[in-house]
Symmetry: C2
Subunit: 239 residues, 2 copies
DNA sequence: GTGTTTTCTGGGAAAAACCCTAGAGCAGAC
DNA sequence: GTCTGCTCTAGGGTTTTTCCCAGAAAACAC
């Protein structure tokens, strides 16, 4: 009957810990770790009933840590702590968490009451989703606006600043296939092209990137990962 | 002999306040406000020796609040609190702070010691710049890499997803002028074009946006401001 | 004043991005 | 089995962006 807090920032760890000590003293003791790798190891050792996981952590992200934890001990309660309501994380989380899984998603801008509420909910077997991201959740489940893996891949590539032909080389596609992906991407993101009547205000490519940032479909750290993935592939194939 | 803390997040305010109470009790009392407008008003009333200003605040940003404060009471010590090492804020701050001004720039990932160190430095008449952004500061002062206002304006426009012609309309320029701005922007950001030998990997337009996000030259909230500025102009001219 | 930087101008050519239509393979759902 | 949705393919078009050249007006510092 313990709780684990995994966050790389001391400030946030003590924030959560103090809240738990004041409001849920019966759940003590509270353990703390500073990265995802340690989180997984500690969970296997102490088997806590509830784990707070920050998303942005060194060594292993909160999402990946959650995946490993749920594979080993499926009935562990997970509460994701995130700075932003980024759609990309919701997408990833949805794949990792079983359909009937118990979890919470709390933004760091949450009030103290909300954190406690979420903790109680998950301990009691319910889900708790931060109000600010219910809209996002809806979008990830709406057929008309949610992106397929191929479209998402294309989005990441243009956000990195690659040309069509460079994308084609990297993903082993023809240039036409890339353009086909982009076309459906643009239409799903409701970006009007030059053919449509009205103002041809937008460069679709850049506009799609802008909207994607705005919706939290992509962000800096995710793009960095994509880029390093490409660099590895390149180094491997050229040697 | 008081200190003012302006931050919209309760958690961060109490973080700073507790630090000050423990380490600089002789500077008490410590006042708190939750937005930039209140910060300016309170400064005029209580004339604190030191003000902590969060950048992202409702009503008035920390930068703009600093500007107003320094105009009224120039010898007020300012410590900027920021979540990120965004170059755009450093650029703005540099314009606002007098050359011999006393100020600090602290990232929110700073350790407790660093915050105290910064507070003591500014109270003692020195500047304190977070180690993580000294690189950024250098860049903003290097001729070869720092952007001119015109280039910056163009950058913001392409980041919003506008076409060349749309930019020309909005800024009352010819399309050629816009392209000229973009050309110098690309070269300053060291983005190789298609003419250069080697692989033509990159779509310069999108690549520039990516690098700009990465360097913190632009970010979501700044772009939102640019966009709303355009919307106002448009509404005004069309009526 | 001079010199430097910044910005805008022009034309013409090449490359990349976008538009349209249409079909075919392949998975998974029912 | 059929149906649907996703993906890749193909050809041939248009528009936008980028590239090259060079010169001139404007702003600023010294």
């Amino acid at each position: 009957m313990t709780i684990l807090i995994a966050d790389d920032e001391e400030r946030d760890r003590s924030w959560i810990k103090e809240l738990l000590e004041k409001n849920l003293p019966e759940q003590a003791p509270f353990h703390e770790v500073a990265d995802g790798q340690q989180a997984v190891e500690t969970v296997l050792k102490i088997k806590p009933k509830l784990v707070f996981l920050d998303i942005k952590m060194p060594a292993l992200s909160g999402i990946k840590a959650a995946e490993q934890i749920l594979q080993s001990i499926p009935n562990t309660g997970i509460i994701i702590l995130s700075n932003f309501s980024d759609e990309v994380y919701v997408r990833q989380l949805w794949k990792v968490v079983p359909a009937d899984g118990v979890f919470g998603y709390v933004l760091k801008s949450a009030s103290n009451e909300q954190v406690i509420e979420a903790a109680k909910a998950v301990l009691g077997g319910d889900c708790w989703i931060h109000p600010g991201i219910s809209r996002v959740i809806q979008r990830t489940q709406n057929r008309a606006t949610s992106l397929t893996p191929a479209e998402f891949e294309a989005l990441a590539c243009i956000a990195l600043g690659l040309t069509d032909s460079a994308i084609a080389r990297r993903l082993y596609l023809t240039e036409k296939a890339v353009q086909s992906r982009l076309k459906s991407l643009y239409s799903k993101m409701a970006i009007q092209g030059r053919s449509e009547q009205g103002d041809t205000e937008h460069n679709q490519r850049c506009r799609a990137v802008y909207m994607a940032y705005k919706r939290g479909l992509i962000n800096q750290s995710e793009l960095d990962e994509w880029e390093s993935r490409f660099l590895e592939n390149k180094a491997g194939s050229e040697s």
